[in-house]
Subunit: 144 residues, 2 copies
């Protein structure tokens, strides 16, 4: 019995040491599915012509999954995930690249982002003066 | 003036004849990207414990792209796309399968769907009594 108890205590401690640091990121999943050891990050990005997404038709839509590995129909999923992670999920922090050459033509395009980033719901919209300006933000997160 | 007006009317009719049949399906893309010949269908689905998604943490999130081909982190993307197409995009039309055996245990789970289905924005939420009931809808669209 004493040996069993000691063994159980050791296993418990080991499990605590392994699982402890994951708290906040590790999320229990419903049903019989095994635990997910990462917070979900799955987004749908849309783009369309117009100054606002309200009432406008999304002309393209891509998906971007960033956990456990980058995937999706975004044309550069891996770099887009790295970029958003670098910005700590703040889409407004994606600023126009230095030296990006765009005309000042006003032909507004909107982008929307919806879904989940690191376990938190996301709903974002932003309008750019034209498609070139949109594509020139950061590392090309909105270039899809 | 009368000639100008007639010319304008003719151009307007011609534009209507060319553009009319494309409305809803074919959509021009912004920037230099070639035209997209299909309406986008890209979704993010989330699931979590609770009677409502409001304020609740999404525990899993998967993507589902259905055009031009099924893809995404949904565990059965091809059949999920076929199922939703069969339901004409009506998530409420996905009903519980005959013979599905679930307990009546009340442990509510919610699902959300956001993104674009055949070019139209989607924002959907539904709650099930427990995870088994959720997984028993239709062909398993919500089983992720």
């Amino acid at each position: 019995m004493r040996n069993t108890a000691r063994w159980a205590a050791t296993v418990g401690l080991a499990a605590g040491a392994v699982c402890g640091p994951l708290t906040g990121a590790a999320v229990a999943t419903p049903g019989a599915t095994p635990f997910s050891l990462y917070a979900p990050s799955a987004l749908v990005l849309t783009v369309g012509h117009g100054a606002s997404a309200a009432g406008a038709t999304p002309e393209r839509a891509v998906t971007l999954t960033c956990a456990p590995a980058p995937s999706g129909t975004h044309p550069a999923a891996a770099s887009a995930c790295a970029e958003l992670r670098g910005a700590r999920g703040d889409f407004d922090a994606l600023k126009r690249r230095d030296g990006a050459a765009c005309t000042r033509e006003y032909s507004p395009v909107f982008v929307t982002v919806e879904g989940v980033w690191e376990g938190k719901r996301v709903s974002y919209e932003r309008t750019f003066g034209n498609a070139c300006v949109k594509d020139s933000q950061g590392g090309g997160f909105f270039a899809f």
